[in-house]
Amino acid sequence: MDILRFITAGSVDDGKSTLIGRLLYDSKSILIDQLRSIEKASNKANGEIDLALLTDGLRAEREQGITIDVAYKYFSTPRRKFIIADAPGHIQYTRNMVTGASNSDLIIILIDARHGVVEQTRRHSIIASLLDVAHVVVAVNKMDLVSYDETVFNTIVNDYKEVAASLGLNEVTYIPIAAITGDNITEHSTKLDWYNGEPLLAFLEQVNIKRSAENNKARLYVQYVIRPQAPGYHDYRGYAGRITGGSLHVGDHVISLPSGISTTISAIESGGNAIDEAYAGQSITIQLADDIDISRGDVIVKKSDLQPIVSQDLEALLCWMDTRPLLPGNRYLLQLNSLTVPAIVKHIGYKVDVNTIDKTHNPATAELNDIVSVTLKTASPVPYDKYTVLHTGGGAILIDETSYATVAAAILQ
């Protein structure tokens, strides 16, 4: 069993909350006490429950009509554990969606069958493309309101194919559903017998996600150096971190960046046990053959693998997340995994219109929810990867040095 992380995109009226509620309900992830509390709130004459209420938020949100960036929901089937990033819409939409999509393998884009591809659909797709989300599921919802008509579905599929082609979204799956009645969610719907593909949940259970991280990009961002003050361990130095790509083996030739010093791996430990090899995603501790100066934020890279870029001049796409605008020339902290370094935003190249993907060149500032291309100058050399090459080597954040708020997502180019 593995984990699939996905995000759902859709406006309030597309039935996003109903779909999430339906997935939780049909996978029996909703329990009686939770059901009772929404039954009370549903207040429906026919005794039906309002599945959308399952994703209902905090009292603070209800009272003030606001939504908090991302809520996470969990459900499992015998085949997979699922983590849903539920990014509510409204004003902060771009920021919320970027946050949720940063850790998602798949995005479900909901389209109301009555309305087809709309501006929102385009915006969601542009963000999915910028964040390089591996797989897109276009769920054409509310098929019950268009008499389960195949031609309605086909028209939407053809319209979306143009959007996908223009954005370079290659892995796209189209599924007609009716979340409110459960058609095509866990089981084939007889009302949609013209549809030959799998129901949504079955698809999510078996979709094979191709991840950029899987091959020949072994990096270990050192988080912490373990130096036991105990007899028998005087010479022990364990470099603790999580492998971001590929695999590491005992005996591998490695380079420490940014210093560039070479050595070999003399031991790998996982949870206190010595192991011969370790893979992307694993938290491990390694020991090196030579006593070299390595500390938190340094990156250990396999010599035979594709090497990261090491530079003080970085190009990045920023999604601005702060209410105070970005001003060129300001200093921030760039955080990339365990590495934190001061950085100056030298120049804003262009701003991306998330509704049309058109570019406006040389904008003076970037406001909340803007996506801009910038040039960064860092105080010291940063080992990194282009985001499209390795998400975990190129997905960073900017932190305001005075408020300490996370002010931007930085997609390194």
């Binding site: 984990i3 908090i68 960036d69 554990k81 912490y224 373990i226 995603g281 938290s283």
Partner: protein
């Protein structure tokens, strides 16, 4: 990550270890809040994996309400002796005396809310800038909205509107003096993940998680253990019942469930077939109002 050699428990474990090491790397004075419950026991196990053969970069801290299950206290002391790490205990009782606080009254007079005072005092006393806890997002809807690194102000307050977005593997733990961060490494685990992990790793638990006979009363469809900390009324009927605890909190606010689950496998079976959530079934304190947890968190609660 879909590496066939690594399953979902490995991924959850690696993520939690990554978070624990980020805490070790980013903060000066950390603490692991230890309650004796299964989630904090799992945290200790994860910390062993994250930092051995070195010592933990933090002590274990127990905020002791004085209403504990003896089995949980015994377990705590045995565990601390076995792993050779430091334990700090601060008692709610002492805070009540020192600060002239009012003891809660009623049938199940819980010191759960008063714990917050002792916790905040302890944070001040030691200057902790990060406190690690075992809360999970599947427990409760206020928790579902809280970040892994949750920034608290000088009053320990959670501000749900000012949370930092968490992108990729970047956890921003930068804080101003007086603020602290609550860190939840097993945010993405569900109750079932915790039990499957306990089984896989062979983690020992306090005996009260398993079926045992106990004197109980029934109150509001929940079974509450007889203890000096609850008030018996005339209409209460004390009877013996085979029970176990699905969560371990204070004796005053944790209900038992009738159960014949004697092994971890039995427990996993029981949870899979259960139709009630963990907190819904066993916590007397969450029912007070629909937003009970949200309110407590805003006031500095874990």
């Amino acid at each position: 990550m879909s590496n066939k050699r690594i399953d979902h428990l490995d991924l959850l474990e690696s993520e939690a270890i990554y978070i624990l090491r980020e805490v070790a790397g980013q903060f000066e004075k950390q603490a692991l809040l230890f309650s004796g419950g299964k989630d904090s026991i799992v945290l200790v196990h994860l910390a062993l994996k994250a930092f051995r053969p070195g010592k933990f970069p933090f002590p274990l801290v127990h905020i002791d309400t004085g209403h504990n299950f003896q089995e949980a206290l015994d377990y705590r002391d045995e565990l601390v002796a076995a792993i050779g790490e430091k334990l700090i205990v601060r008692k709610v009782e002492d805070t009540i005396v020192a600060k002239n606080l009012t003891e809660p009254r009623g049938k199940f007079a819980s010191r759960n809310a008063l714990q917050t005072y002792t916790l905040l005092d302890t944070i001040n006393e030691f200057g902790f800038d990060a406190c690690i806890g075992g809360a999970r997002r599947d427990e409760e809807k206020a928790r579902a909205k809280e970040r892994v690194f949750s920034i608290r102000d000088e009053f320990g307050q959670w501000n749900p509107k000012l949370q930092r977005p968490e992108l990729w593997n970047n956890y921003n733990g930068k804080i101003h003096k007086g603020e602290n961060v609550r860190v939840f490494p097993i945010s993405n685990w569900t109750e079932l993940d915790v039990w499957n992990y306990i089984k896989r790793e062979g983690i020992k638990l306090p005996s009260i998680y398993f079926s045992h006979e106990r004197d109980v009363i029934e109150y509001d469809q929940q079974l509450v253990a007889l203890s000096p900390f609850i008030r018996l009324d005339k209409e209460d009927v004390v009877f013996k019942c085979k029970v176990r605890y699905r969560t371990v909190g204070d004796m005053t606010c944790t209900a038992a469930i009738a159960s014949e689950a004697f092994s971890i496998d039995d427990i996993i079976e029981e949870i899979i077939s259960s139709n009630t959530s963990e907190r819904g079934e066993t916590r007397i304190d969450d029912k007070v109002s629909e937003a009970a947890m949200e309110d407590r968190k805003k006031n500095g609660y874990f």
